[in-house]
């Protein structure tokens, strides 16, 4: 067993590796710096740099005659956001994001509740993958699937016709605002697809929050005479709320910034994402596009600040 020399301090290994290794031990700060430099350079310069440069452009304006950017500090671009046609876009997007978030919470809750409290063993895995696979499957394919479903000649029309309920669809489409000539070019269609694409992000945080609720709390409430509705209202819902808020951060933010769903399934009226896309692309008005981008950032900033005060980040 005596294979090691009988000294108490061994010589440093030769070469650069030995010297570097000793240096990392003596000065751990150097190793930390070496580890942090590449990601910080990448994210700090490429990402943050571009982001800040973009946001700064929102304080410039565009010359109406030449179409060139006027590099002088001004708030006039922000004032443009308030003109009715632009403000309508912001309002429409925020209302849609709120509706999508509320509807997602309602649909997600039973799934999360079942997975957290009743699913065991094999069913737990099935529920988990049953949420993860749609969540991760292709964004465009999901939209495409709904294009197939909502199309006039598609499965929904066929299904309603079989049930002799086409009159119901026609009545809905005849409604103002939510209606249209077909579901795939109406707000209703946009709303459904938004829910479909972003709702899975709501399930896991709610499930995580519910899993932390001890089962005997529900029994205690029933024991004290609470009926199921009261138990839900006074026990379950308040305890799940941080999870709902955590999930709503995703559904709300993702809906706010999306520009592809309303472009493919929806009416011709714009959402914020589309406005940004149009302003920077065809209109070439980078300052206004930048100002539009600031809107979801500010809204999300406020939202995150409120969510943090509710303790939602523990449920993420």
């Amino acid at each position: 067993m005596s294979t090691v020399a009988d000294t108490s301090i061994l010589a440093r290994r030769g070469g650069l590796a030995g010297r570097l290794s000793d240096l990392f031990w003596r000065k751990p700060g150097i190793l930390l710096l070496l580890m942090l430099t590449p990601p910080l350079l990448w994210l700090g310069i490429i990402y943050l740099g571009s982001l800040i440069a973009l946001l700064l452009q929102s304080f410039f304006s565009i010359d109406d005659f030449s179409g060139l950017i006027n590099y002088e500090f001004t708030l006039s671009t922000y004032r443009q956001l308030l003109i009715p046609s632009n403000f309508d876009i912001i309002l429409r997007t925020v209302v849609m994001a709120v509706m999508v978030t509320l509807a997602s919470a309602v649909i997600a809750f039973p799934i999360a509740y079942y997975a957290a409290r009743y699913a065991r063993g094999k069913w737990k895995v099935i529920f988990y993958l049953g949420v993860m696979l749609p969540l991760w499957s292709s964004y465009l394919v999901k939209i495409y699937a709904w294009k197939l479903i909502l199309a006039k000649e598609g499965i929904l029309t066929w299904f309603l016709a079989k049930l002799h309920l086409l009159w119901l669809l026609d009545a809905w489409l005849a409604l103002p605002v939510v209606g249209g000539s077909s579901l795939s070019i109406s707000y209703t269609g946009t709303f459904i697809v938004f829910i479909y694409v972003w709702m899975p992000f709501m399930i896991l945080p709610i499930q995580a929050a519910l899993e932390r609720v001890p089962g005997n709390l529900i029994e205690a409430s029933a024991d004290l005479g609470g009926n199921p509705a009261q138990t839900f209202r006074f026990v379950l819902f308040p305890l799940a709320l941080p999870g709902i808020i955590a999930g709503s951060i995703f559904t709300f933010s993702l809906t706010l910034g999306d520009y592809i769903i309303p472009q493919i399934i929806g009416s011709s009226r714009l959402f914020i994402g589309q406005a940004v896309y149009a302003q920077q692309g065809t209109a070439g008005n980078i300052p206004l596009a930048a100002a539009f981008s600031v809107v979801p950032i500010v809204i999300m900033g406020l939202y995150l600040w409120m969510a943090k005060r509710q303790g939602a980040f523990d449920a993420l």
Binding site: L32, L43, V131, L133, Y139, L148
Partner: protein
């Protein structure tokens, strides 16, 4: 929650949960059906007939192969970059306490926390400002940026499990920093990195919003699909491509799940 095993769920809850899962899965199943339809001009349901011919047609389409090839190359390179950057960041954040770790976590998460369109337009205006022409690398630049977080999330969770005393034990037994990394750290975080890499690949392979701003005239598979969605020209081919994309993205998700299922945090929770 002892009593849960004995009591089964109320019927209403079962129906609501089942309907919710069905709502999530039926549209995807529909994609599989449409890949076999004989109808060319519309989205008619039920399909008038079933055929395998569109698979052959798609197989012989050079534009699809080109888009697929570009997507795979972009995803591979972006994943590689994200693996390096995400692992470094996770190692730094979990191994040492230093001023500003919270800021670094936030910085890593920001590219997916903010709407993709903002990342996209910011990168595009930076490219045009710096007069960088669109290329393969401009796409990679964007993708790697938002893929870092997926690797980071997986690696951070695992680094926490590799307790500090394992590293000290290795050094105590005579291994220098490099040997400790090679023999102790890497084997312990390996599966987490593999899972993170798979998810990053899936994320990049599917990304369209940032890519529309950084691709120029190039066409990744999602861009190809987006064009088909906006202006449908070859529906049957799109149907087949959609099905293939679903399958290709499912595989890494299942793989990542099986690699991390024993862990305290399962991969993929935060896309």
């Amino acid at each position: 929650m002892r009593s849960d095993r004995n009591t089964s769920a109320p019927l209403g809850l079962k129906i609501a949960a089942g309907a919710g899962l069905a709502f999530l899965h039926l549209p995807i199943l529909l994609i599989f059906l449409y890949a076999f339809t004989t109808e060319e001009k519309s989205y008619q349901f039920p399909p008038p007939g079933l055929t395998l011919k569109w698979f052959a047609v798609t197989w012989n389409r050079p534009d699809v192969w080109e888009a697929l090839g570009l997507s795979v190359r972009v995803a591979a390179i972006s994943t590689a970059i994200a693996l390096v950057l995400g692992t470094l960041c996770a190692a730094a954040v979990s191994r040492t306490k230093f001023f500003g770790r919270e800021t670094i976590s936030l910085l890593v998460i920001l590219p997916i926390a903010l709407p993709g369109i903002i990342t996209g337009i910011a990168l595009r205006s930076a490219f045009s400002f710096a007069e960088i022409p669109f290329s393969f690398w401009t796409i990679v630049l964007g993708h790697a940026t938002f893929c870092v977080v997926v690797v980071y999330n997986n690696a951070v969770a695992r680094f926490r499990r590799v307790s500090g005393s394992l590293i000290e034990a290795s050094m105590d037994l005579g291994a220098d920093s490099f040997q400790t990394f090679r023999y102790i750290i890497l084997p312990n975080i390996g599966t987490a990195l593999l899972a993170g890499g798979m998810l990053a690949f899936a994320l990049s392979f599917d990304e369209v919003i940032v890519t529309t701003f950084t691709a120029g005239q190039q066409s990744t598979l999602p861009i190809w699909m987006l064009e088909e969605l906006v202006r449908p020209r070859q529906r049957p081919v799109t149907n087949v491509v959609a099905m293939v994309v679903v399958i290709v993205t499912f595989l890494p998700i299942l793989g990542a799940y099986y690699l991390t299922r024993d862990g305290d945090q399962v991969a993929g929770g935060g896309k």
